[in-house]
């Protein structure tokens, strides 16, 4: 019989999230799949229980000694509020939710638990369990972690510490970035707006510019921000996109927990004036900063600070205050927007016919009121914007440009938060 661990340590990257989480910065991200049939709640409940047995290190609460195995039963819920709602960490509940609405199954996770890649692994297993509970025959093709398997210790290891080679990389503060401002939406919710587009047309458009899809979309985002949000007479700060990079592509980690690094891609206003200029700047910087050596430096920066003996010796409450300062000064102050590309969701061929498309949503923050997340499945890429301000000009310009340049049809839909009066 599988022995159930009582506690799991909070990994290096995850230490930042609990002290900085608050209603305006929930640190909760969401991954969803839209099926072709309406969701069956009973099957989803069974699938959730089975999946959490496979991922015992996800069925946890946040306690004094790190992640503690939850004692209460887990229940899936029908979606009622807005995406990425805060989790109350003090009440000792689960650090994830499984929600359903219509044809959508969503997993919302506290970022301390896992990153996008970890969340995706969980979602794929959940979807597999759900479809098999409905009687589907699926060949997993080795593309997902199967229920019934014994969890390996590598799945919940702290890969930051494992792959930190002890090098020293000085942490440098970047200059303050341009901030998007707007009329705030009512508190207590977030507006999400998705645009679904065919990957083929997008790939061709990116290839014409000798760029990858991520580079192309990041450049378009910078150009859209410049065109719709920047006041040329007043704003002279660079537009900085904060792009999370999956370190599993560089290092052979099997962890389902956090293993990512943030790179800040900065585009000066003079480059952002044209799409070509923005793309050139993005390509140069993105390629330089995603080299293995640069990523190892980024990893060293994270570990060097967190593992410093002085930092470790400081009492918890002082460390938490320090984390909040570091978050505000080194993360929030130096970025304009987060653009996270979760990437292609590689489903087994037997699962693909059940899935229409996928969505990924990353939480907004106070100083970054619009964030963007991308993911693709079955040849459809979904660009998801989340916002806490009313203005939609940026999204309108972004999707208008995509429609014109790729020739693909863009299908948009949104929730109604802040727009119930029909005014956007």
């Amino acid at each position: 019989m599988q022995k159930i661990r009582e506690t799991y340590p909070v990994d290096t990257a995850a230490k930042l999230f609990p002290p900085t989480a608050r209603p305006t910065n929930t640190s909760v991200f969401r991954l969803s799949v839209l099926l072709k049939e309406a969701v069956n709640q009973e099957a989803l409940q069974k699938a959730a229980e089975k999946t959490l047995e496979r991922y015992p290190y996800m069925a946890v609460t946040l306690g004094k000694d790190g992640f503690e195995t939850a004692r209460t039963p887990f229940l899936v819920r029908e979606e009622k509020g807005t995406p990425c709602a805060p989790l109350d960490l003090k009440k000792g509940g689960f650090l994830l939710r499984i929600l359903w609405y219509g044809k959508r199954i969503s997993v919302e996770m506290f970022h301390a638990l896992a990153d996008g890649a970890g969340g995706l692994a969980f979602l794929k297993t959940l979807l597999y369990c759900y479809l098999t509970a409905l009687g589907a025959e699926i060949n997993p093709e080795g593309k997902l972690l199967l229920p019934g398997e014994t969890p390996q210790s590598g799945e919940y290891e702290d890969s930051f510490l494992k792959y930190y080679d002890g090098r020293k990389a000085p942490v440098q503060k970047m200059p303050p970035a341009f901030k998007i401002k707007g009329e705030p939406l009512p508190e207590g919710g977030r507006n999400v707006l998705h645009g679904v587009i065919g990957v083929e047309g997008l790939k061709k458009a990116a290839r014409r510019q000798e760029a990858t899809i991520t580079e192309y979309l990041c450049a378009l985002m910078v150009y859209s921000i410049y065109r719709e949000c920047v006041d040329e007479n007043v704003d002279d700060e660079p537009i900085v996109l904060s792009v999370p990079v999956n370190l599993r592509g560089t290092l052979p980690s099997q962890t389902v927990r956090n293993f990512f690094s943030i790179i800040n891609v900065s585009v000066p206003p003079e480059y952002a004036k044209t799409f070509g200029g923005a793309l050139q700047a993005i390509k140069t910087e993105l390629r330089e900063k995603t080299r293995a050596e640069s990523l190892m430096d980024a990893l060293a920066q994270s570990c060097g600070v967190m593992e410093h003996p002085v930092v470790k010796a400081v009492p918890q409450f002082m460390r938490d205050a320090g984390m909040r300062f570091v978050f505000a000064f080194f993360s929030e102050d130096v970025k304009t927007m987060t653009v996270s590309n979760v990437g292609m969701i590689d489903l087994p061929a037997d699962m693909q016919p059940y899935v229409e498309h996928a969505e990924s949503v990353i939480y907004p923050t106070e100083r970054s009121p619009i964030n963007c997340c991308l993911c693709s499945v079955n040849g459809k890429l979904t660009v998801s914007f989340i916002r806490t301000i009313k203005e939609t000009g940026l999204m309108r310009f972004f999707f208008g440009f995509l429609t014109r340049e790729t020739g693909e049809e863009v299908t948009v839909y949104a929730n109604e938060w802040g727009t119930s009066d029909g005014q956007v």
């Binding site: 608050r22 209603p23 029908e78 979606e79 009622k80 509020g81 807005t82 709602a85 805060p86 989790l87 109350d88 003090k90 609405y101 219509g102 959508r104 009512p186 508190e187 207590g188 919710g189 999400v192 707006l193 645009g195 006041d231 007479n233 007043v234 704003d235 939609t392 999204m395 309108r396 999707f399 208008g400 429609t403 014109r404 049809e409 863009v410 299908t411 948009v412 839909y413 949104a414 929730n415 109604e416 938060w417 727009t419 119930s420 029909g422 005014q423 956007v424």
Partner: protein
């Protein structure tokens, strides 16, 4: 699914385009539920009960001790304590936490500092050192701070005008003391007023070329 001709996109799950708000034809099934606000999971906003209790306790005890021990010729030193606490409350709740514009915060700070200095002076024997010296020099400090903010921070023209109004106000406060006949040493007050006029004119003419352009366009100069 409907088509928004204005934005060039297909719209799903809504009668209006989520990008521009214009109505579209052909509604499909809803993609999201109606959106209530975050409910039980939202951590409640903390009301500052303990600081309020501490403030009320300290001020109350001080007032009691003051009234019991003051005798026939004693002063009301408990008022000094009360205004210090009042200042701290405004400092934290308004100056630090509020998101109102900076010039308004600065003006409120100036008014509070003036009030605080007057109370201290009145309690310390009515030597009028507050109106003669302290308030004019506090106003000069505030004008200097406003100048520093305008020169170093990115502000739009309405914010800029706010600071100009603040500078003009800081110049007027010491003059009020002269007009009311309270101020005997007038040179610090005139120095503050002169510095305010000088700063105001500099802000109007030289500080920000872009602002000047905006003014020219706005007022059709």
């Amino acid at each position: 699914m409907g088509k928004c001709e204005y934005c060039g996109v297909t719209v799903k799950g809504s009668e209006s385009c989520p990008l521009c708000g214009r109505p579209v034809q052909g509604k499909t099934e809803k993609m999201y539920p109606a959106c209530p606000a975050d409910q039980n999971e939202i951590p409640e906003k903390r009301t500052p009960y303990w600081p309020a209790v501490v403030t009320a306790g300290v001020v109350g005890i001080c007032a009691l001790v003051n009234l019991v021990t003051r005798g026939s010729s004693g002063g009301y030193w408990c008022l000094d304590i009360a205004v210090i606490f009042a200042y701290l409350w405004v400092l934290v709740l308004h100056t630090v936490k509020s998101k109102t514009r900076g010039s308004f915060k600065l003006m409120l700070q100036a008014c509070l500092i003036v009030a605080m200095l007057c109370v201290f002076d009145w309690n310390a024997g009515r030597g009028l050192w507050s109106v003669n010296f302290a308030i004019p020099f506090a106003c000069i400090g505030m004008i200097f701070l406003a100048t520093y903010i305008v020169m170093t921070r990115k502000i739009n023209w309405s914010g800029y005008i706010g600071y100009m109004v603040a500078v003009a106000l800081f110049g007027q406060i010491p003059i009020m003391g002269i007009l009311l006949g309270l101020t005997h040493f007038v040179w610090p007050s005139f120095a503050a007023a002169g510095y305010a006029v000088f700063t105001f004119l500099m802000m109007l003419m030289f500080a920000n070329g872009r602002y000047k352009d905006a003014q020219t366009r706005r007022f059709r100069f």
